[in-house]
Amino acid sequence: MAEASANSPAVLRGRHDFPEISGRIGSIVLGGRLPRHFWTAFLLCFLLVLLLLYSITYLIAVGVGGLGINMPVVWGTMISNFVWWIGIGHAGTLISAVLLLLRQPWRASINRFAEAMTLFAVAMAGLFPILHLGRPWFFYWLLPLPNVHMHWPQWRSPLVWDFAAIATYATVSLLFWYMGLLPDLAVLRDRARSRPAQLFYGILALGWRGSAYHWARYQVVYFLLAALATPLVVSVHSIVSLDFTFAITPGYHSTIFPPYFVAGALLSGFAMVLTIAIPLRWAFSVKDLITLRHMDNAAKLMIAAGMVVAYGYLSEAFFAWYSGEPYERTMMAQRALGPYAPLFWIMLSLNCGVLQLLWFRRIRRNMPLLFAIAVAINVGMWIERYIIVVTGPSRDYLPSAWGEQSLAWLDFGILFGSIGTFFALVFLFIRILPAITIFEVEELAEEEGKIR
C-alpha cells in the first residue's frame, strides 16, 4: 500500500526509517532548517503584534467608547472575536482527542500543531472577554477571592461559566499538549548538539527515557485525558453559546445555539487547520508525512460541520417564524433585510455557498483552491459571529430603542492584531517545538510496516 491509490491516498507516503523520521522533524527545530520566507512572514505577523499592543493601550487609555459599540448594541467585535477564536480552538482538541479515541491513524502527523493552534487560539480568545470590559483592570472580580469587599461572583451569569470553561479548556489543552510533547522533547534533547538546546529540551523533557513501565501508564492517562477533553470541548462552546441563549434578546434566545455553535466551531477550526497545514507541508516539504489524505479528511469534516451549521441557520429562521413571536420574526426579517443585510448575505454565500465546492474531490485535492476556501470560511465564520452578536439587540423589543452600531478603526486594529499575534505564536512554535509528533509517526510507520 505504498503507492497511494487515487481515491484514498495513504496517511503516510513512501518508506521511512526511524532516524530519518525523527531526524527530519527534529532538524526543523534543531538545525533551524527554515524555508526562505519564514522570517519575512514572521516579521509581518510581528507588525500586527505591535498593532495589537497599540490598540490595547488605546482601548485601556480611552475606554471601550473607542470601539463602535453604543446603546442598544453594547456588545460588538470583542465578543464576536472571542467566539470566533474559541471556535478555531476546537478543531485542535477534536483532532487530537476525538480522533485518538476513534483510533484514526491519520491524526498522527497533524495533531501536534492542531493542538498548538488550539492553545494559541484559546490564548487569543482569552484576551477578549477582558478587553471587552468597561473596567478591564477589575476582571479578577469574576473569581472567588478572599477579599475585604466581600464580593462573590454571580454564579448564575453565563459569563462566569465562560470564565470557568475557558480556564479549564486552556489548562486541559495545555496539559494534554505537553504530555504529548514529552517523548518528542526527549528526542530533541538527545539529538541536540549545543548545550543550551540540550538543557532547554532536557529540562522540558523531565528526564523521559521511554521505559516500558512509563509507556504503559503514559498510554492509559493520555487516553483518559483525551476522554476528558472530548466532553470538555463540546461543553466549552455550548457554554459560550449560552451567553446568547441565556439572554431573552430576540435572536439570542434560541435552543439551537449549543449544537450549532459547536458545529460552527469545528467548521472554522478545520478551516484554520487547513489554513496552517497547507502552507506548512509545502514550506517544510513534509508532503509525505502530512499527505493529501489529511487535507481530504479535514475538508470532508468541514463539509459535515458546515452542513450542520447551515441547518442551524435554517432552523433559526424557521423557529423565528414558527414561534409566531413578532419580536423574533421582526428580528429575523431585519437581519436579512435590515442594516446588516449585506453582511448576512456575505456570510451565507461563504459558509453555505462556497462550502459546497468541497463536495468535489478534485477541489478537495487542489491545495491552492482548498486554501482559498478555508480562508473564505474563516472570514464567513467571523461575520456569522458578528451578526449573531449585533443584530439581536439592534432590533429588540421596543422600536424606540432600535439602533445600529458602527465599526471603529479600533475594532479592526484589535481583530487583525490578534490574528497576527496568533500566527506569530504559530511561527515561534514551529521554530522551537516539533510541529509533527515524532513518536506517533514512528509508531504509525511501524504499524503500517513502512520501515525500510
Binding site: 475606554g63 453604543n70 470590559l133 459569563l159 421596543l398 422600536p399 471603529a408 478603526w409
Partner: protein
C-alpha cells in the same frame, strides 16, 4: 456599518489619544469660523487661555465639554486617598447642619413671568430646583429650563468681570463712567439716553424705571422681547379699549378649542394649565367624565399631540378657520373658504354649544389680533367669559416708547446716543434687517448688562456681569398676576449685579444694596409679612382680579390680517428649552430631546411628509429658505402631522458664543425675521443638495404593531374597560421560580399615559437629581446619551394626520429582572423592598445587563464623562447632588427610583421609629411632572395612591408577556374623540 475614519497617531500618548477620540468633522466648524473674529478671540483669551492656544488646531472636545457640561464630581469615586482634607466652618450658620439640605422658596423667570420654585441647597450650594406647590404658576411642577437654572448658575462661561471695550475692567471704573453719565443726564434730563429692557414683570423694576423717567424726563425706554406675543393685547385694546390678558380655567372647561394655541407647552401659565387640563381628563372608571380638546395648529406641538381632534393647517389659514368658527357661532352663513372640513366644524360647534359656559376657545398667542378677537367673542357668546376665561390686567404691562425697531430709528436719526441694555441681546435676537450692530457701533456709549459675554457684550463699551436669578434679590409676577419674591440662594459667584442695582446706579445710587432695593419697594409689608412672603414663595392673594367686559359682536371691525399667501409659510417657534438662545450654553438643555422630533444639539427646518415629497428632500438634507429678502440654510426634518406647505423654524440656535453653544449645530432663524412676527408667508425653499447630520435620540417612530402604548377612545373604554388586554399578548400567570417575598415596602410606580403630555420635564429633573452626565453631540449621535429616563414618542395612523403617543420609560424594576441574572459580579441585584439596585462601584462593565434588558433603559459610561479630580473640576460640580455617586468610565447606570430619596426618608422614618408614609417618598420625575402622570409609592400599603392607580382597569405592564414582573406599570391612554367623527388611526395599533 461606517467605520469611523480616524487613524491613530504613532506615539501612544494618552492625551493625544483622548484628543483624537471621536472628534467629528463639522463639530468644530462653527468654532473655526469664528476663531478669526476678533471679539471671539478676545473672549476666548480672556476666558479659556488653554483653548486659545489650541484654537488653530482642533481643540479637545472632551476637555471643552468638561469645561462647561455639568460633569464634574463632588463625590468622585477616585477620592479614596488617605490624605484628604476636611474643612469645618469658621462660623457655622444657625440653620445649617452639614449633611442636611436646606430648602428655600424663590421664583424663577420664564420669559419674564414668575414660576415659583423650591430650591434644595447643600452647605449653601443650590443643587436642585423643585416646583413650589403654593405658587399658582408652578403648582409643584417644574420644566427643563427651571431645572437647568442650577447649571447656568455654575456655568464657568458666565461673564466674570466687567468689560470695557471687551477688555476686563474694574467695576469701580464702570461706576466712574456711570457717574459721568448720571451728571450728564441730570444736566440734559436724560437727553439722548435710552434704556433697553427685556420682558419683565418685576414691580420694583417698573417702579425704578418710572422713577428714572421722572428723574430724566427725556430718557427713552424701549423694550426688546424677541418672543413677545402682542396680538392678545391689541385685540383686547381694540375690543375693550384696555389691554387685558386672558387667564384660562381648564378645570372648568369641558370642550376646548385651540386656535393654534400651545397652552401645554408655551406661555407662563403652562404648568397650571397642564395640571388642570389633565385633571379634567383623569379617567379611572367607566363612569368618569373627561374634557375634549379640538386643536387647530400650524406646527406640531405637544398640545396637538394631546388633542382628541387635531387639524394641521398653514398658519395663514388659522384666521380663516377662526372666521368660520365665528360665523358658525354667530349663526352667519358663509363659513366658506375655511380649510377645516365642514363635518369637523359642525361637530366642533355643536360640542361648544353643548358645553355652553364650560366651553373654551383659545387663540394662539402668536396668532393675529383677529383670531384673539374671535376667541374672545366666541367665549363671550358661549357665556364662558368669566367662567373658563378670565380677563385680567397684564402683569407685564410697562409703558414704553417702543420696541427695538423704534430704538433703531431713534439711533438712526440721532435722537439717541447712549443705550443701556438690561439683559437683552439684540445683536443676536434682533431682526436681521435692523442691523443693530451698525446702529450700536455709532453710539457714544453702549452699556450692556447680562449673564454672558454675548454678541452685544463684545460690542458694548461697557459690559457688566449680571447676577444669576439664584443670586439675586428681586420680585416677579406670575401669569395670573400673583406676585412673589426672588431671593438669592448664594452670593454672586462672579460679583454679578442685579438689574435693580444697575438702574439704581443710573439713578445715582452707586452703593445700592440689592436687598434693600427690593425691600424699599415693599414697604407696605411689615417684617412678618415679608418673611412670610419669602417663606411661602408667593404673596397671599396678590393675583390680579378678573375684569368683567362686554364684547361687541362685530369684533370692533377687526378683520383677518394675513392673506392666504401663495408659496410656503414659515412658522417661527421658540426652541422649547433654549428659548431665544439665552440658554444655549446649558448642556442639559442642548442634550434634552425636543418633545416631538427628539432632536438634540441643534435644530432643523420641520416640514410635512407631503411637502418633503414635493420638494424631494429627506431628513438632514439642507434646504435654503428665502423669505422677504433674507435667507438661511437649514437641514430639513420630516415630521408626520406637520401642516403641508409650511416650514417650522425655531429660534435659539446658531449661537457662536459660549463653549457649549459652539458645540451645537443649527441655524439662526432670527436671520429670517423682519420684526416681531411669528409667520412669514410666501417663502421660497430650494434644496441645496448637500446634507448635514441632525442628531436624534429616537430613530424608529412606529410601534411595529406591538402592544407598547395601549390606547382607546373613551367610548371604547366604557364599552370595554380592560381594553389594554384586548389584542395584546396573553400575560403569563405563573413563573418557574417561587415568588420572592417582599414583606417590608414594595416600591412601585404607575405612569398615566393619558396624562403624559411629553413635556420632558421628568427627564431633565432626573438628570439634575441624579448627576447624569451630558455627553455632547458626537456621543449622542452614536446613541450614547445617558438619560436614565426617556420619553418615547410613537406615531400611529395615517402619515399626514397621525396620532402621537408619549411614553416615559424609566427602569421597570422587574421582580424577575433579566439584567440581574446575567451580571457576573453581583453589580445589579434586588433589594428587600424590590428595587433593582445598580452598584456602580461593583460594576466592571460587561454590559450584559443592558444586552438582556428588554426595555433598554440602562445607560453605559462609554467614555470618561465625569472627572473626579475636585481640583480641576470647574464650578459646575457645585450643581451636583452630593447624595448620588458620580459614575466613572466603564460603568453601567440606570434609573434607581431615586434611591437616595428613598434612603433619606427611610432613615428619617427609622429615626422616628415609624413607617414611611404614603407620598413621603417622591421621585424626581414624579415631582417635576406638571400633569401628575407619575405616581410612586409602596405597593404593600393598601391605601397607597399607587395601589389605587394600579387597580385601574387600564393598568398594564410594558412587555408583560415576558413575565419580567415590572414594578413600573402604565395606565393605557384614553382619548375622547367625538363619536360622530371617524378618527383616523383609531382602530390601528392596539
Amino acid at each position: 456599518m461606517s467605520a469611523i475614519a480616524d487613524r491613530p497617531g504613532s506615539a501612544i500618548d494618552i492625551e493625544a489619544l483622548r484628543k483624537r477620540l471621536a472628534h467629528g468633522g463639522e463639530m468644530w466648524r462653527s468654532l473655526d469660523e469664528i476663531a478669526g473674529a476678533a471679539d471671539f478671540r478676545r473672549f476666548v483669551e480672556a476666558e479659556f487661555p488653554a483653548i486659545a492656544e489650541r484654537l488653530p488646531a482642533k481643540p479637545n472636545r472632551r476637555t471643552l465639554l468638561k469645561l462647561m457640561g455639568a460633569s464634574l464630581s463632588l463625590a468622585g469615586l477616585a477620592a479614596c486617598s488617605r490624605a484628604e482634607n476636611i474643612v469645618p466652618y469658621v462660623r457655622q450658620p444657625e440653620i445649617l447642619v452639614p449633611g442636611k439640605p436646606v430648602y428655600y422658596a424663590t421664583t424663577l423667570s420664564s420669559d419674564g413671568f414668575g414660576i415659583g420654585a423650591i430650591v434644595e441647597s447643600h452647605e449653601g450650594r443650590p443643587t436642585k430646583i423643585e416646583g413650589n406647590p403654593d405658587h399658582p404658576a408652578s403648582r409643584g411642577a417644574t420644566d427643563a429650563v427651571m431645572q437647568a437654572a442650577v447649571l447656568t448658575l455654575f456655568d464657568p462661561d458666565r461673564s466674570h468681570t466687567p468689560l470695557k471695550d471687551g477688555q476686563p475692567a474694574s467695576y469701580g471704573d464702570f461706576l466712574k463712567t456711570m457717574a459721568g453719565l448720571v451728571s450728564r443726564w441730570t444736566a440734559s434730563q436724560g437727553q439722548g439716553g435710552a434704556l433697553l429692557v427685556e420682558a419683565t414683570t418685576s414691580p420694583t423694576l417698573a417702579a425704578q424705571l418710572g422713577a428714572l423717567r421722572t428723574r430724566y424726563p427725556r430718557l427713552k425706554l424701549y423694550r426688546h422681547d424677541p418672543l413677545a406675543m402682542p396680538a392678545a393685547m391689541e385685540a383686547s385694546r381694540t375690543l375693550f379699549g384696555s389691554a387685558l390678558t386672558p387667564v384660562y380655567r381648564f378645570d372648568r372647561a369641558e370642550t376646548i378649542v385651540s386656535l393654534d394655541a400651545d397652552f401645554l407647552g408655551e406661555g407662563p401659565g403652562r404648568h397650571a394649565y397642564a395640571r388642570d387640563f389633565a385633571a379634567r381628563r383623569r379617567v379611572r372608571d367607566p363612569s368618569d367624565r373627561m374634557s375634549r380638546l379640538y386643536a387647530v395648529e400650524s406646527t406640531p406641538t405637544i398640545t396637538g399631540a394631546a388633542a382628541d381632534h387635531r387639524l394641521a393647517i398653514k398658519p395663514s389659514d388659522v384666521e380663516a378657520v377662526a372666521a368660520g368658527l365665528n360665523a358658525a357661532l354667530t349663526g352667519q352663513t358663509g363659513a366658506s373658504g375655511s380649510p377645516a372640513d365642514q363635518a369637523l366644524m359642525t361637530v366642533l360647534v355643536d360640542d361648544l354649544k353643548a358645553a355652553g359656559r364650560n366651553a373654551l376657545v383659545i387663540a394662539g398667542a402668536q396668532q393675529s389680533a383677529f383670531v384673539h378677537a374671535v376667541a374672545l367673542a366666541a367665549n363671550a357668546k358661549l357665556g364662558a367669559l368669566g367662567n373658563t376665561v378670565e380677563l385680567t390686567e397684564p402683569p407685564d404691562s410697562l409703558s414704553v416708547d417702543g420696541d427695538l425697531g423704534a430704538l433703531r430709528e431713534a439711533i438712526g436719526d440721532g435722537a439717541v446716543d447712549t443705550v443701556v441694555a438690561l439683559g437683552a441681546n439684540p445683536l443676536h435676537t434682533g431682526p436681521a434687517n435692523l442691523d443693530m450692530r451698525k446702529a450700536f457701533s455709532g453710539l457714544n456709549l453702549l452699556v450692556h448688562h447680562g449673564l454672558y459675554r454675548d454678541e452685544t457684550a463684545f460690542l458694548a463699551h461697557w459690559h457688566v456681569p449680571a447676577a444669576h436669578e439664584l443670586e439675586s434679590w428681586s420680585d416677579i409676577r406670575a401669569y395670573d398676576g400673583s406676585t412673589s419674591l426672588v431671593q438669592p440662594l448664594i452670593t454672586p459667584l462672579y460679583d454679578g449685579k442685579t438689574a435693580h442695582q444697575l438702574l439704581a446706579v443710573l439713578g445715582g445710587g452707586f452703593e445700592a444694596d440689592p436687598l434693600s432695593l427690593i425691600r424699599q419697594h415693599w414697604t407696605q409689608l411689615d417684617d412678618d409679612a415679608w418673611r412670610k412672603a419669602l417663606r411661602d414663595g408667593v404673596m397671599a392673594d396678590s393675583a390680579a382680579k378678573p375684569v368683567s367686559v362686554t364684547v361687541s359682536p362685530d369684533l370692533a371691525g377687526l378683520k383677518p390680517a394675513a392673506k392666504a399667501g401663495s408659496g410656503i409659510d414659515v412658522r417661527f417657534v421658540a426652541d422649547p428649552w433654549l428659548r431665544d438662545g439665552r440658554f444655549a450654553n446649558a448642556s442639559w438643555l442642548q442634550e434634552l430631546p425636543r418633545p416631538l422630533t427628539k432632536i438634540v444639539w441643534g435644530n432643523a427646518a420641520l416640514v410635512s411628509p407631503a411637502t418633503a415629497e414635493r420638494l424631494k428632500i429627506g431628513n438632514g438634507e439642507v434646504v435654503n429658505i428665502a423669505s422677504n429678502g433674507a435667507d438661511v440654510d437649514a437641514p430639513a426634518w420630516i415630521v408626520p402631522g406637520h401642516p403641508d406647505e409650511t416650514i417650522t423654524l425655531s429660534f435659539g440656535f446658531g449661537r457662536k458664543v459660549g463653549s457649549v453653544a459652539a458645540l451645537s449645530q443649527g441655524y439662526d432663524a432670527f436671520h429670517l425675521r423682519r420684526g416681531s412676527e411669528w409667520f412669514a408667508a410666501g417663502a421660497a425653499i430650494a434644496p441645496r443638495g448637500n446634507s448635514v447630520r441632525v442628531i436624534t435620540t429616537q430613530h424608529h417612530q412606529a410601534m411595529e404593531g406591538r402592544a407598547i402604548v395601549r390606547h382607546a377612545s373613551l367610548d371604547a373604554f366604557r364599552r370595554n374597560p380592560d381594553f389594554v388586554r384586548k389584542n395584546a399578548p396573553p400575560v403569563p400567570t405563573e413563573s418557574l421560580y417561587p415568588d420572592w417575598p417582599y414583606d417590608e415596602e414594595a416600591w412601585a410606580m404607575a405612569i398615566d399615559l393619558s396624562a403624559c403630555i411629553g413635556c420632558m420635564a421628568c427627564v431633565s429633573a432626573c438628570q439634575a437629581e441624579n448627576n447624569i452626565a451630558p455627553v455632547g453631540p458626537e456621543e449622542c449621535e452614536r446613541g450614547r446619551e445617558m438619560h436614565w429616563l426617556r420619553v418615547d414618542r410613537y406615531y400611529a395612523g395615517p402619515l399626514d394626520a397621525p396620532d402621537t403617543f408619549f411614553q416615559p420609560v424609566p427602569c421597570m424594576h422587574c421582580e424577575k429582572a433579566p439584567c440581574e441574572v446575567v451580571c457576573p459580579v453581583n453589580a445589579t441585584v434586588h433589594t428587600h423592598d424590590g428595587l433593582n439596585a445598580q452598584v456602580y462601584n461593583r460594576c466592571i462593565g460587561t454590559r450584559y445587563c443592558s444586552q438582556n434588558c428588554p426595555y433598554k433603559v440602562r445607560r453605559f459610561n462609554f467614555l470618561d464623562h465625569q472627572s473626579f479630580d475636585k481640583d480641576d473640576a470647574g464650578p459646575e460640580q457645585g450643581a451636583h447632588n452630593p447624595n448620588v455617586s458620580i459614575r466613572s468610565r466603564g460603568v453601567m447606570e440606570k434609573c434607581t427610583y431615586c434611591v437616595q430619596r428613598i434612603s433619606a426618608k427611610r432613615i428619617q422614618a427609622q429615626i422616628e421609629n415609624r413607617d414611611i408614609a404614603d407620598g413621603e417618598v417622591v421621585t424626581a420625575c414624579q415631582q417635576a411632572c406638571p400633569t401628575q402622570a407619575i405616581t410612586f409609592g409602596d405597593r404593600n400599603k393598601k391605601d397607597a395612591k399607587v395601589v389605587r392607580e394600579k387597580s385601574a382597569p387600564q393598568n398594564y405592564a410594558l412587555l408583560e408577556e415576558l413575565n419580567t414582573r415590572p414594578r413600573t406599570t402604565y395606565l393605557g391612554k384614553i382619548s375622547n374623540p367625538n363619536g360622530k367623527l371617524a378618527k383616523p388611526g383609531e382602530a390601528t395599533d392596539g
